[in-house]
Amino acid sequence: RQSWRRASMKDTNRRKSLAPFHQGITELSRSISVDLAENKRLGSLLLSSFQFSVQKLEPFLCGTEGFSLENFRAKASSLSEELKHFVDTMESNGTLQKCFEDSKEKISDLSLEKSVTEMKEYITKFSSESETWDQLLLHYQKEAEEITSRASAESKITEVEIEPMIYLGSSQREVLNTKPNYQKILQNHNRVFDYIELVMDELQGSMKQLSTFLDESTQCFQKVSVQLGKRSTEQLDPSPARKLLKLH
């Protein structure tokens, strides 16, 4: 519509639009290799933008009074070095990387969504499998009932090989379903057994120490006993019984 055209709007109401990119500027982006990582490309863009600015500024300043080209180029070169160092620092501390982090968060969200979808698929698959098993079980139960009713009608004793499952009447099925999970119970007991093992190890250590102490004490007592025995034997009379008998 005409009312939508930018040319028909008055100055203050004129819709602002972006200025077109200068061709030189777009060339800067294109000259940076896409094989580099994103943060490195951004760093290169910053440096090449500065150099481009310096190049564009130089001819304008050449005509001004007091302008020294050598000084200008020297300053531009040192500034370029500083900027390069600054860009390297930003690259190494991850500042440049943060500019791209939004997109990465989106990528991790995507992978989470993918896992959730997979889980839903598995759940659906297992549910349908479980239904199939239930149907199979019902089918076998019906067959079992048919066989038992047929057998009583025929009144013939025939040996029928029945799967153990068919022995299960409804009451037995209940009992089996409420069978405790022995594996889990054993696993729960494992912790207790671990503690018991620790305690037993401690006990064993203590008993060994006690046994060593007992041996050492016994040896010590034996030594002392032998020493005392030797001392007392030295003072013994050769025939105390006779002396005793002779004593009035």
């Binding site: 025939s239 019984a241 006779r242 005793l244 008998l245 002779k246 004593l247 009035h248």
Partner: protein, 145 residues
């Protein structure tokens, strides 16, 4: 004269009295010293006997054997802890020296046939502990038979 004589006698008696008093004093001191010595000796003897009795009691308890000196210059050996049903039951025999100063065993209760053999072995070997060990074994065999 009579008076003079009496006076002399009295003087003499007085001197005698003094010397007797001195003697009595000496005797008292001697008595006190001896009493002190005897008391010390008594205490020492008691102490020694007490210690000896302790060791005798220990042996008696550990060996299950009591040794007594009895009338007629005999030694009596009394064993206990032989009968498991009655540990206090005593098993005994006597030992003395004959005219030739050899060991002679007698009066065993209960009677042991082999006691005479043990006596001969003791006379030859003079090994008292083996002799007593054999007697104990013999008494034990009597109980178990």
């Amino acid at each position: 004269d009579d008076l003079l004589k009496l006076i002399a006698e009295v003087k003499e008696k007085r001197q005698e009295l003094t010397s007797l008093s001195a003697k009595i004093q000496d005797l008292k001191e001697e008595y006190a010293k001896k009493k002190e010595i005897i008391s010390t000796a008594n205490k020492a003897n008691e102490e020694r006997l007490k210690r000896l009795q302790l060791s005798v009691d220990l042996f008696k308890d550990r060996l299950g054997l009591e040794i007594r000196k009895i009338y007629g210059d005999k030694l009596q050996f009394i064993f206990t802890n032989i009968d498991p049903k009655n540990p206090e039951r005593p098993f005994m025999f006597s030992l003395c020296l004959d005219e030739e100063k050899n060991y002679q065993v007698s009066d065993s209760a209960p009677h042991l046939e082999c006691l005479a053999d043990f006596q001969e072995k003791l006379r030859k070997t003079k090994n008292f502990s083996a002799f007593l060990a054999n007697v104990r074994k013999a008494f034990t065999a009597v109980v178990y038979n």
